[in-house]
Amino acid sequence: MSIATQAQSGSKAGRIELRDIAIHLPGKVRFEAVRQVSTTIAAGEFVSIIGPSGCGKSTLLNAVAGYLQPSGGSLSVDGEPVGGPGPDRGMVFQHNSLLPWRSALDNVAFGLKMRGVARAERLERAREFLELVGLRGFADRYPAQLSGGMQQRVEIARVLINNPRVVLMDEPFGALDAQTRERMQQLLLDIWGRFRPTVLFVTHDIDEALILSDRVLVMTHRPGRIREEIVVDLPRPRPEDIIVSPEFIALKKRCLALVQDEVRQSLIGGLEAPRIELPVEA
Protein backbone atom coordinates (compact mmCIF):
# COMPACT_ATOMS: atom_id res chain seq x y z
CA MET A 1 0.00 0.00 0.00
CA SER A 2 1.51 3.31 -1.03
CA ILE A 3 1.25 6.49 0.99
CA ALA A 4 -1.34 7.85 -1.40
CA THR A 5 -3.68 4.89 -1.02
CA GLN A 6 -3.12 4.84 2.72
CA ALA A 7 -4.02 8.53 2.89
CA GLN A 8 -7.13 8.05 0.76
CA SER A 9 -8.30 5.08 2.73
CA GLY A 10 -8.37 7.55 5.66
CA SER A 11 -10.69 5.22 7.45
CA LYS A 12 -13.64 6.32 9.46
CA ALA A 13 -12.33 4.27 12.37
CA GLY A 14 -10.84 5.56 15.61
CA ARG A 15 -13.78 6.46 17.80
CA ILE A 16 -12.61 6.53 21.42
CA GLU A 17 -15.13 6.08 24.19
CA LEU A 18 -14.29 6.71 27.83
CA ARG A 19 -16.99 5.87 30.38
CA ASP A 20 -16.49 6.76 34.05
CA ILE A 21 -12.80 6.09 33.85
CA ALA A 22 -10.99 5.99 37.19
CA ILE A 23 -7.27 5.37 37.41
CA HIS A 24 -5.30 4.59 40.53
CA LEU A 25 -1.55 4.53 40.38
CA PRO A 26 0.58 2.30 42.58
CA GLY A 27 3.18 3.92 44.78
CA LYS A 28 4.08 4.14 48.44
CA VAL A 29 0.45 5.08 48.83
CA ARG A 30 -1.87 4.09 46.03
CA PHE A 31 -3.31 7.34 44.79
CA GLU A 32 -6.18 8.39 42.62
CA ALA A 33 -4.88 10.03 39.45
CA VAL A 34 -8.05 10.22 37.35
CA ARG A 35 -11.67 10.23 38.53
CA GLN A 36 -14.86 9.68 36.57
CA VAL A 37 -13.73 10.78 33.15
CA SER A 38 -16.35 10.31 30.45
CA THR A 39 -16.11 11.55 26.91
CA THR A 40 -16.41 10.37 23.37
CA ILE A 41 -13.91 11.32 20.72
CA ALA A 42 -15.17 10.96 17.19
CA ALA A 43 -13.27 9.14 14.48
CA GLY A 44 -10.81 11.52 12.87
CA GLU A 45 -11.26 14.19 15.51
CA PHE A 46 -8.29 16.15 16.87
CA VAL A 47 -8.69 16.58 20.62
CA SER A 48 -6.25 18.16 23.06
CA ILE A 49 -6.12 17.72 26.81
CA ILE A 50 -4.84 20.57 28.95
CA GLY A 51 -4.75 21.09 32.69
CA PRO A 52 -2.43 21.86 35.59
CA SER A 53 0.69 19.73 35.77
CA GLY A 54 0.15 16.44 37.51
CA CYS A 55 -3.58 16.45 36.78
CA GLY A 56 -3.54 13.04 35.14
CA LYS A 57 -3.44 14.07 31.46
CA SER A 58 -0.57 11.73 30.67
CA THR A 59 -2.05 9.01 32.84
CA LEU A 60 -5.26 9.15 30.84
CA LEU A 61 -3.28 8.94 27.60
CA ASN A 62 -1.29 5.97 28.92
CA ALA A 63 -4.58 4.22 29.65
CA VAL A 64 -5.79 4.71 26.08
CA ALA A 65 -2.40 3.44 24.87
CA GLY A 66 -2.98 0.34 27.00
CA TYR A 67 0.08 0.81 29.22
CA LEU A 68 -2.05 0.85 32.33
CA GLN A 69 -5.39 -0.55 33.28
CA PRO A 70 -8.10 1.81 34.59
CA SER A 71 -9.34 0.82 38.04
CA GLY A 72 -12.91 1.59 37.00
CA GLY A 73 -15.07 2.41 34.02
CA SER A 74 -14.78 1.27 30.45
CA LEU A 75 -12.45 2.32 27.69
CA SER A 76 -12.92 1.27 24.10
CA VAL A 77 -11.82 2.14 20.59
CA ASP A 78 -14.43 1.46 17.93
CA GLY A 79 -16.31 -0.60 20.46
CA GLU A 80 -13.36 -2.89 21.24
CA PRO A 81 -12.20 -2.66 24.85
CA VAL A 82 -8.56 -1.60 25.18
CA GLY A 83 -6.62 -4.56 26.56
CA GLY A 84 -3.03 -3.53 26.02
CA PRO A 85 -0.76 -1.60 23.69
CA GLY A 86 -1.16 -2.19 19.98
CA PRO A 87 -0.13 -0.76 16.61
CA ASP A 88 -3.64 0.61 16.00
CA ARG A 89 -2.90 3.21 18.68
CA GLY A 90 0.44 4.89 18.02
CA MET A 91 2.19 6.76 20.81
CA VAL A 92 4.57 9.72 20.61
CA PHE A 93 6.30 10.79 23.82
CA GLN A 94 7.83 14.14 24.69
CA HIS A 95 11.33 12.76 24.33
CA ASN A 96 11.94 10.40 21.48
CA SER A 97 11.78 6.71 22.23
CA LEU A 98 13.49 5.68 19.00
CA LEU A 99 15.74 2.65 19.16
CA PRO A 100 19.23 4.19 19.44
CA TRP A 101 20.85 1.22 17.67
CA ARG A 102 18.66 1.48 14.58
CA SER A 103 19.00 4.02 11.79
CA ALA A 104 16.14 6.46 11.18
CA LEU A 105 15.01 4.25 8.30
CA ASP A 106 15.02 1.04 10.34
CA ASN A 107 13.20 2.81 13.15
CA VAL A 108 10.43 3.85 10.77
CA ALA A 109 10.30 0.33 9.31
CA PHE A 110 10.04 -1.24 12.78
CA GLY A 111 6.25 -1.59 12.82
CA LEU A 112 6.25 -3.30 9.42
CA LYS A 113 9.00 -5.65 10.58
CA MET A 114 6.80 -6.61 13.52
CA ARG A 115 4.04 -7.39 11.05
CA GLY A 116 6.37 -9.60 9.05
CA VAL A 117 6.63 -7.41 5.94
CA ALA A 118 9.62 -8.41 3.79
CA ARG A 119 12.73 -6.30 4.20
CA ALA A 120 12.87 -4.73 0.75
CA GLU A 121 9.22 -3.72 0.88
CA ARG A 122 9.29 -2.32 4.39
CA LEU A 123 12.41 -0.24 3.70
CA GLU A 124 10.85 1.16 0.57
CA ARG A 125 7.73 2.19 2.46
CA ALA A 126 9.79 3.57 5.34
CA ARG A 127 11.63 5.72 2.83
CA GLU A 128 8.31 7.16 1.64
CA PHE A 129 7.28 8.00 5.18
CA LEU A 130 10.64 9.61 5.97
CA GLU A 131 10.13 11.75 2.91
CA LEU A 132 6.64 12.60 4.09
CA VAL A 133 8.04 14.12 7.29
CA GLY A 134 10.79 15.95 5.38
CA LEU A 135 13.69 13.69 6.28
CA ARG A 136 14.81 12.51 2.89
CA GLY A 137 18.55 12.08 3.05
CA PHE A 138 18.61 11.29 6.75
CA ALA A 139 17.67 7.62 6.42
CA ASP A 140 21.04 6.28 7.55
CA ARG A 141 21.43 8.51 10.58
CA TYR A 142 21.20 7.13 14.05
CA PRO A 143 18.72 8.97 16.30
CA ALA A 144 21.56 10.57 18.27
CA GLN A 145 22.73 12.19 15.04
CA LEU A 146 19.42 14.00 14.53
CA SER A 147 18.15 17.21 16.14
CA GLY A 148 15.25 17.04 18.59
CA GLY A 149 12.78 18.14 15.93
CA MET A 150 14.04 15.55 13.48
CA GLN A 151 13.79 12.84 16.10
CA GLN A 152 10.13 13.70 16.63
CA ARG A 153 9.57 13.62 12.87
CA VAL A 154 10.97 10.10 12.81
CA GLU A 155 8.67 9.22 15.72
CA ILE A 156 5.65 10.49 13.81
CA ALA A 157 6.69 8.65 10.66
CA ARG A 158 7.14 5.34 12.44
CA VAL A 159 3.75 5.66 14.10
CA LEU A 160 2.01 6.61 10.83
CA ILE A 161 3.48 3.72 8.86
CA ASN A 162 1.28 1.40 10.94
CA ASN A 163 -1.79 3.21 9.64
CA PRO A 164 -3.10 3.70 13.19
CA ARG A 165 -6.70 4.56 13.94
CA VAL A 166 -5.56 6.66 16.87
CA VAL A 167 -2.42 8.70 17.41
CA LEU A 168 -1.64 9.53 21.04
CA MET A 169 0.77 12.37 21.67
CA ASP A 170 2.16 13.25 25.08
CA GLU A 171 3.57 16.77 24.85
CA PRO A 172 5.41 15.73 21.70
CA PHE A 173 6.79 19.20 20.97
CA GLY A 174 7.30 20.25 24.58
CA ALA A 175 11.08 19.91 24.45
CA LEU A 176 11.54 21.79 21.18
CA ASP A 177 12.44 25.44 20.66
CA ALA A 178 9.60 27.78 19.67
CA GLN A 179 10.36 27.94 15.94
CA THR A 180 10.79 24.21 15.59
CA ARG A 181 7.58 23.69 17.53
CA GLU A 182 5.62 25.86 15.08
CA ARG A 183 7.00 23.96 12.12
CA MET A 184 6.13 20.67 13.77
CA GLN A 185 2.58 21.83 14.48
CA GLN A 186 2.10 22.69 10.82
CA LEU A 187 3.60 19.36 9.78
CA LEU A 188 1.29 17.52 12.15
CA LEU A 189 -1.78 19.36 10.86
CA ASP A 190 -0.76 18.62 7.29
CA ILE A 191 -0.32 14.93 8.03
CA TRP A 192 -3.52 14.75 10.06
CA GLY A 193 -5.37 16.33 7.13
CA ARG A 194 -4.10 13.64 4.78
CA PHE A 195 -4.50 10.54 6.92
CA ARG A 196 -7.20 11.67 9.34
CA PRO A 197 -6.40 9.46 12.31
CA THR A 198 -8.04 10.37 15.59
CA VAL A 199 -5.49 12.42 17.53
CA LEU A 200 -5.45 12.72 21.30
CA PHE A 201 -2.90 15.34 22.19
CA VAL A 202 -1.67 16.22 25.68
CA THR A 203 -0.04 19.61 26.10
CA HIS A 204 0.43 22.34 28.68
CA ASP A 205 0.59 24.96 25.94
CA ILE A 206 -2.86 26.55 25.42
CA ASP A 207 -1.87 28.16 22.10
CA GLU A 208 -0.76 24.81 20.80
CA ALA A 209 -4.00 23.13 21.89
CA LEU A 210 -6.13 25.80 20.22
CA ILE A 211 -4.14 25.94 16.97
CA LEU A 212 -4.32 22.19 16.49
CA SER A 213 -7.59 20.97 17.90
CA ASP A 214 -11.25 20.58 17.10
CA ARG A 215 -11.92 20.36 20.80
CA VAL A 216 -9.98 21.02 23.99
CA LEU A 217 -10.63 19.10 27.19
CA VAL A 218 -9.67 21.09 30.29
CA MET A 219 -8.90 18.85 33.24
CA THR A 220 -9.17 19.68 36.91
CA HIS A 221 -6.31 19.36 39.36
CA ARG A 222 -5.81 15.88 40.65
CA PRO A 223 -7.59 13.59 40.79
CA GLY A 224 -8.20 14.66 37.21
CA ARG A 225 -11.73 15.06 35.94
CA ILE A 226 -12.91 16.85 32.84
CA ARG A 227 -13.83 20.33 33.94
CA GLU A 228 -14.92 21.67 30.60
CA GLU A 229 -14.96 20.80 26.93
CA ILE A 230 -14.19 23.73 24.67
CA VAL A 231 -15.11 23.45 21.02
CA VAL A 232 -12.57 25.24 18.83
CA ASP A 233 -14.73 26.37 15.94
CA LEU A 234 -11.97 28.18 14.10
CA PRO A 235 -11.90 27.51 10.35
CA ARG A 236 -9.23 25.28 8.84
CA PRO A 237 -6.62 25.58 7.52
CA ARG A 238 -5.60 27.93 10.28
CA PRO A 239 -3.10 30.60 9.25
CA GLU A 240 -0.20 31.44 11.53
CA ASP A 241 -1.68 34.82 12.50
CA ILE A 242 -4.83 33.18 13.79
CA ILE A 243 -3.41 33.46 17.29
CA VAL A 244 -4.02 37.24 17.22
CA SER A 245 -7.60 36.96 15.96
CA PRO A 246 -10.32 38.03 18.45
CA GLU A 247 -11.96 34.60 18.31
CA PHE A 248 -8.72 32.88 19.18
CA ILE A 249 -7.98 35.30 21.99
CA ALA A 250 -11.45 34.82 23.43
CA LEU A 251 -10.96 31.04 23.49
CA LYS A 252 -7.52 31.43 24.98
CA LYS A 253 -8.83 33.65 27.76
CA ARG A 254 -11.39 31.03 28.66
CA CYS A 255 -8.84 28.24 28.74
CA LEU A 256 -6.38 30.33 30.69
CA ALA A 257 -8.96 31.25 33.29
CA LEU A 258 -9.94 27.61 33.76
CA VAL A 259 -6.39 26.30 34.00
CA GLN A 260 -5.30 29.07 36.34
CA ASP A 261 -8.27 28.44 38.56
CA GLU A 262 -7.32 24.76 38.75
CA VAL A 263 -3.69 25.58 39.48
CA ARG A 264 -4.83 27.87 42.28
CA GLN A 265 -7.06 25.19 43.77
CA SER A 266 -4.32 22.59 43.58
CA LEU A 267 -2.02 24.98 45.47
CA ILE A 268 -4.65 25.45 48.15
CA GLY A 269 -4.87 21.70 48.40
CA GLY A 270 -1.11 21.73 48.85
CA LEU A 271 -0.72 18.48 47.00
CA GLU A 272 2.53 18.07 45.17
CA ALA A 273 1.71 15.68 42.37
CA PRO A 274 4.03 12.72 42.16
CA ARG A 275 5.96 12.11 39.00
CA ILE A 276 4.04 9.79 36.73
CA GLU A 277 5.96 6.82 35.51
CA LEU A 278 5.11 4.01 33.20
CA PRO A 279 4.11 0.84 34.98
CA VAL A 280 6.87 -1.74 35.42
CA GLU A 281 5.23 -4.26 33.16
CA ALA A 282 5.21 -1.89 30.21
Binding site: A65, W101, F110, G137, R141, A144, Q145, M150
Partner: protein
Protein backbone atom coordinates in the same frame (compact mmCIF):
# COMPACT_ATOMS: atom_id res chain seq x y z
CA UNK B 1 22.73 20.75 14.20
CA UNK B 2 20.81 23.20 16.28
CA UNK B 3 17.83 24.06 14.10
CA UNK B 4 15.64 22.57 11.46
CA UNK B 5 17.29 24.74 8.81
CA UNK B 6 19.06 21.82 7.22
CA UNK B 7 15.73 20.33 6.26
CA UNK B 8 15.41 22.75 3.38
CA UNK B 9 18.59 21.30 1.94
CA UNK B 10 18.32 17.58 2.55
CA UNK B 11 21.39 15.45 2.15
CA UNK B 12 23.84 17.91 3.61
CA UNK B 13 25.94 16.09 6.16
CA UNK B 14 26.23 17.60 9.61
CA UNK B 15 29.10 17.49 12.05
CA UNK B 16 27.80 14.23 13.46
CA UNK B 17 29.20 12.20 10.59
CA UNK B 18 27.80 9.03 9.10
CA UNK B 19 27.34 5.91 11.18
CA UNK B 20 29.63 4.03 8.82
CA UNK B 21 32.66 6.23 9.52
CA UNK B 22 34.35 4.14 12.17
CA UNK B 23 37.66 5.77 13.01
CA UNK B 24 40.57 3.76 14.44
CA UNK B 25 41.61 6.83 16.38
CA UNK B 26 41.45 5.09 19.73
CA UNK B 27 44.94 3.67 19.18
CA UNK B 28 46.48 7.07 18.61
CA UNK B 29 44.17 8.91 20.98
CA UNK B 30 46.93 10.55 23.03
CA UNK B 31 49.36 13.27 22.00
CA UNK B 32 52.97 12.16 21.44
CA UNK B 33 54.20 13.89 24.58
CA UNK B 34 51.86 11.90 26.83
CA UNK B 35 52.64 8.65 25.03
CA UNK B 36 56.36 9.24 25.62
CA UNK B 37 55.72 10.01 29.28
CA UNK B 38 53.80 6.76 29.67
CA UNK B 39 56.55 4.76 28.00
CA UNK B 40 59.16 6.45 30.21
CA UNK B 41 57.18 5.54 33.33
CA UNK B 42 57.11 1.88 32.28
CA UNK B 43 60.84 1.92 31.63
CA UNK B 44 61.50 3.53 34.99
CA UNK B 45 59.62 0.73 36.73
CA UNK B 46 61.66 -1.92 34.93
CA UNK B 47 64.88 -0.05 35.76
CA UNK B 48 63.92 0.08 39.44
CA UNK B 49 63.10 -3.62 39.40
CA UNK B 50 66.48 -4.41 37.79
CA UNK B 51 68.36 -2.33 40.36
CA UNK B 52 66.35 -3.70 43.27
CA UNK B 53 66.95 -7.35 42.41
CA UNK B 54 70.59 -7.02 41.32
CA UNK B 55 71.47 -5.04 44.46
CA UNK B 56 69.19 -7.30 46.57
CA UNK B 57 67.23 -4.45 48.15
CA UNK B 58 65.80 -5.35 51.51
CA UNK B 59 63.09 -3.10 52.89
CA UNK B 60 62.51 -5.26 55.94
CA UNK B 61 58.90 -6.08 55.21
CA UNK B 62 59.54 -6.70 51.51
CA UNK B 63 62.74 -8.10 50.13
CA UNK B 64 63.97 -8.32 46.56
CA UNK B 65 66.63 -10.89 47.57
CA UNK B 66 64.98 -13.77 45.68
CA UNK B 67 63.21 -11.76 43.02
CA UNK B 68 64.62 -12.52 39.58
CA UNK B 69 65.92 -9.49 37.70
CA UNK B 70 64.34 -8.38 34.41
CA UNK B 71 67.51 -9.44 32.64
CA UNK B 72 67.07 -13.00 33.99
CA UNK B 73 63.43 -12.92 33.02
CA UNK B 74 64.29 -11.92 29.46
CA UNK B 75 66.67 -14.85 29.20
CA UNK B 76 64.04 -17.20 30.63
CA UNK B 77 61.45 -15.78 28.27
CA UNK B 78 63.78 -16.29 25.32
CA UNK B 79 64.32 -19.91 26.40
CA UNK B 80 60.58 -20.47 26.57
CA UNK B 81 60.19 -19.01 23.10
CA UNK B 82 62.80 -21.46 21.83
CA UNK B 83 61.14 -24.35 23.60
CA UNK B 84 59.00 -26.75 21.55
CA UNK B 85 56.62 -26.86 24.52
CA UNK B 86 55.57 -23.22 24.17
CA UNK B 87 52.89 -23.91 21.57
CA UNK B 88 51.35 -26.65 23.73
CA UNK B 89 51.38 -24.40 26.80
CA UNK B 90 49.69 -21.56 24.96
CA UNK B 91 47.19 -23.66 23.02
CA UNK B 92 46.09 -25.62 26.08
CA UNK B 93 45.61 -22.45 28.12
CA UNK B 94 43.75 -20.70 25.32
CA UNK B 95 41.39 -23.65 24.92
CA UNK B 96 40.69 -23.75 28.66
CA UNK B 97 40.12 -20.03 29.00
CA UNK B 98 37.99 -19.70 25.90
CA UNK B 99 35.87 -22.79 26.63
CA UNK B 100 35.15 -21.53 30.13
CA UNK B 101 34.53 -18.06 28.79
CA UNK B 102 32.20 -19.28 26.04
CA UNK B 103 30.12 -21.29 28.50
CA UNK B 104 30.04 -18.34 30.89
CA UNK B 105 28.95 -16.02 28.06
CA UNK B 106 26.08 -18.26 27.04
CA UNK B 107 24.84 -19.03 30.54
CA UNK B 108 25.59 -15.57 31.95
CA UNK B 109 23.61 -13.75 29.28
CA UNK B 110 20.65 -16.15 29.28
CA UNK B 111 20.34 -16.26 33.08
CA UNK B 112 21.05 -12.53 33.29
CA UNK B 113 18.22 -11.68 30.89
CA UNK B 114 15.84 -13.97 32.80
CA UNK B 115 16.72 -12.38 36.13
CA UNK B 116 16.63 -8.87 34.71
CA UNK B 117 13.21 -9.32 33.09
CA UNK B 118 11.34 -11.44 35.59
CA UNK B 119 10.81 -10.93 39.27
CA UNK B 120 10.13 -14.64 39.70
CA UNK B 121 13.51 -15.60 38.26
CA UNK B 122 15.17 -12.86 40.27
CA UNK B 123 13.70 -14.30 43.47
CA UNK B 124 14.58 -17.90 42.68
CA UNK B 125 17.92 -17.66 40.89
CA UNK B 126 19.65 -14.71 42.45
CA UNK B 127 19.91 -15.84 46.11
CA UNK B 128 21.79 -19.10 45.42
CA UNK B 129 24.02 -17.34 42.91
CA UNK B 130 24.85 -14.61 45.41
CA UNK B 131 26.01 -17.31 47.84
CA UNK B 132 28.26 -18.90 45.22
CA UNK B 133 29.66 -15.63 43.93
CA UNK B 134 32.22 -14.84 46.67
CA UNK B 135 33.76 -18.34 46.53
CA UNK B 136 37.15 -18.00 44.82
CA UNK B 137 38.32 -20.37 42.11
CA UNK B 138 40.97 -21.93 44.32
CA UNK B 139 38.32 -23.05 46.78
CA UNK B 140 36.54 -24.87 43.96
CA UNK B 141 39.55 -27.06 43.10
CA UNK B 142 38.71 -30.09 45.28
CA UNK B 143 35.05 -30.13 44.30
CA UNK B 144 35.90 -29.47 40.67
CA UNK B 145 38.11 -32.56 40.69
CA UNK B 146 35.40 -34.62 42.36
CA UNK B 147 32.53 -33.35 40.22
CA UNK B 148 33.93 -33.65 36.71
CA UNK B 149 35.02 -36.78 34.88
CA UNK B 150 38.29 -35.32 33.55
CA UNK B 151 40.79 -32.83 34.89
CA UNK B 152 40.37 -30.93 31.62
CA UNK B 153 36.71 -30.29 32.42
CA UNK B 154 37.57 -29.37 36.02
CA UNK B 155 39.93 -26.71 34.72
CA UNK B 156 37.37 -25.35 32.29
CA UNK B 157 34.88 -25.22 35.15
CA UNK B 158 37.21 -22.99 37.15
CA UNK B 159 37.84 -20.57 34.28
CA UNK B 160 34.07 -20.63 33.75
CA UNK B 161 33.45 -19.65 37.37
CA UNK B 162 35.90 -16.81 36.93
CA UNK B 163 34.05 -15.36 33.95
CA UNK B 164 30.45 -16.19 34.84
CA UNK B 165 29.63 -13.67 37.56
CA UNK B 166 30.90 -10.49 35.92
CA UNK B 167 28.97 -11.43 32.77
CA UNK B 168 25.83 -12.35 34.71
CA UNK B 169 25.76 -9.25 36.89
CA UNK B 170 26.49 -6.86 34.05
CA UNK B 171 23.75 -8.47 31.97
CA UNK B 172 21.25 -8.14 34.82
CA UNK B 173 22.23 -4.53 35.32
CA UNK B 174 22.04 -3.77 31.60
CA UNK B 175 18.63 -5.40 31.20
CA UNK B 176 17.20 -3.59 34.21
CA UNK B 177 18.55 -0.26 32.97
CA UNK B 178 16.83 -0.44 29.55
CA UNK B 179 14.62 2.63 29.12
CA UNK B 180 11.04 1.53 29.83
CA UNK B 181 9.73 4.00 27.27
CA UNK B 182 11.58 2.11 24.56
CA UNK B 183 9.79 -1.06 25.60
CA UNK B 184 6.45 0.74 25.85
CA UNK B 185 6.69 2.37 22.44
CA UNK B 186 7.89 -0.79 20.74
CA UNK B 187 4.81 -2.57 22.09
CA UNK B 188 2.69 0.24 20.67
CA UNK B 189 4.34 -0.49 17.32
CA UNK B 190 3.26 -4.09 17.44
CA UNK B 191 6.20 -5.83 19.14
CA UNK B 192 5.28 -8.99 21.03
CA UNK B 193 7.11 -10.61 23.94
CA UNK B 194 9.96 -12.09 21.91
CA UNK B 195 10.39 -9.06 19.69
CA UNK B 196 10.65 -6.82 22.74
CA UNK B 197 13.39 -9.10 24.01
CA UNK B 198 15.27 -9.41 20.73
CA UNK B 199 14.76 -5.89 19.39
CA UNK B 200 14.82 -3.77 22.54
CA UNK B 201 15.99 -5.48 25.73
CA UNK B 202 19.05 -7.33 24.49
CA UNK B 203 20.38 -4.57 22.20
CA UNK B 204 19.70 -2.05 24.97
CA UNK B 205 21.64 -4.13 27.46
CA UNK B 206 24.45 -4.84 25.00
CA UNK B 207 26.86 -2.08 26.09
CA UNK B 208 26.65 -3.36 29.64
CA UNK B 209 26.94 -6.98 28.48
CA UNK B 210 30.10 -6.17 26.51
CA UNK B 211 31.59 -4.55 29.61
CA UNK B 212 30.77 -7.74 31.50
CA UNK B 213 32.40 -9.83 28.79
CA UNK B 214 35.59 -7.76 28.87
CA UNK B 215 35.79 -8.05 32.67
CA UNK B 216 34.87 -11.74 32.52
CA UNK B 217 37.59 -12.39 30.01
CA UNK B 218 40.09 -10.84 32.40
CA UNK B 219 38.86 -12.78 35.42
CA UNK B 220 38.88 -15.99 33.41
CA UNK B 221 42.63 -15.54 32.80
CA UNK B 222 42.87 -14.53 36.43
CA UNK B 223 41.72 -18.04 37.37
CA UNK B 224 44.03 -19.79 34.93
CA UNK B 225 46.89 -20.51 37.33
CA UNK B 226 44.39 -21.80 39.85
CA UNK B 227 42.77 -24.02 37.23
CA UNK B 228 46.04 -25.36 35.89
CA UNK B 229 47.26 -26.36 39.33
CA UNK B 230 45.21 -29.43 38.42
CA UNK B 231 46.98 -29.81 35.07
CA UNK B 232 49.56 -32.54 34.62
CA UNK B 233 51.55 -31.35 31.67
CA UNK B 234 50.78 -28.19 29.72
CA UNK B 235 49.40 -24.70 30.12
CA UNK B 236 50.86 -21.31 30.96
CA UNK B 237 49.40 -21.47 34.44
CA UNK B 238 50.80 -24.96 34.87
CA UNK B 239 54.19 -23.72 33.65
CA UNK B 240 54.09 -20.90 36.21
CA UNK B 241 53.14 -23.15 39.08
CA UNK B 242 55.63 -25.84 38.07
CA UNK B 243 58.40 -23.24 37.91
CA UNK B 244 57.66 -22.36 41.52
CA UNK B 245 57.84 -25.96 42.67
CA UNK B 246 61.09 -26.39 40.69
CA UNK B 247 62.39 -23.04 42.01
CA UNK B 248 62.95 -21.62 38.51
CA UNK B 249 62.13 -18.14 39.70
CA UNK B 250 62.66 -16.24 36.41
CA UNK B 251 60.26 -18.69 34.71
CA UNK B 252 57.55 -17.75 37.21
CA UNK B 253 57.73 -14.14 36.12
CA UNK B 254 57.71 -15.17 32.47
CA UNK B 255 54.51 -17.14 33.13
CA UNK B 256 52.98 -14.19 34.98
CA UNK B 257 53.77 -11.80 32.16
CA UNK B 258 52.36 -14.22 29.59
CA UNK B 259 49.09 -14.41 31.49
CA UNK B 260 48.99 -10.64 31.87
CA UNK B 261 49.66 -10.08 28.18
CA UNK B 262 47.14 -12.67 26.98
CA UNK B 263 44.52 -11.46 29.41
CA UNK B 264 44.96 -7.87 28.34
CA UNK B 265 44.94 -8.77 24.65
CA UNK B 266 41.77 -10.86 24.85
CA UNK B 267 39.94 -8.25 26.93
CA UNK B 268 41.01 -5.67 24.35
CA UNK B 269 39.67 -7.94 21.62
CA UNK B 270 36.27 -8.05 23.33
CA UNK B 271 36.17 -4.28 23.66
CA UNK B 272 37.13 -3.90 20.01
CA UNK B 273 34.39 -6.34 19.05
CA UNK B 274 31.97 -4.24 21.08
CA UNK B 275 32.96 -1.11 19.20
CA UNK B 276 32.47 -2.81 15.87
CA UNK B 277 29.11 -4.29 16.91
CA UNK B 278 27.80 -1.06 18.40
CA UNK B 279 28.80 1.91 16.25
CA UNK B 280 25.66 3.68 17.48
CA UNK B 281 26.86 3.55 21.07
CA UNK B 282 29.90 5.73 20.52
CA UNK B 283 27.85 8.18 18.47
CA UNK B 284 25.28 8.40 21.23
CA UNK B 285 27.98 8.93 23.87
CA UNK B 286 29.53 11.67 21.80
CA UNK B 287 26.23 13.49 21.32
CA UNK B 288 24.90 13.27 24.84
Amino acid sequence: MSSEQALSAPGIADAGGRPGGFPAAWLAGLPVGRLLLRAAALLACVAFWQAASVLKFDFGLVTFRYVPAPSDVIVAGWNLFQSPKLASHVVNSLIRVFSGFAAATLLGIVVGVLIGRSRRFEDTLLPPLEVLRPIPGVAWIPLAILMFPSSELSMVFITFMGAFFPILLNTVHGVEAVDRRLIASSRSLGAGRWSVLAEVVVPGALPSIVTGLAIGMGTSWFCLVTAEMIAGQYGIGYYTWESYTLQNYPDIVVGMLFIGAFGMASSGLIKLLGRVLMPWYRIQERHS
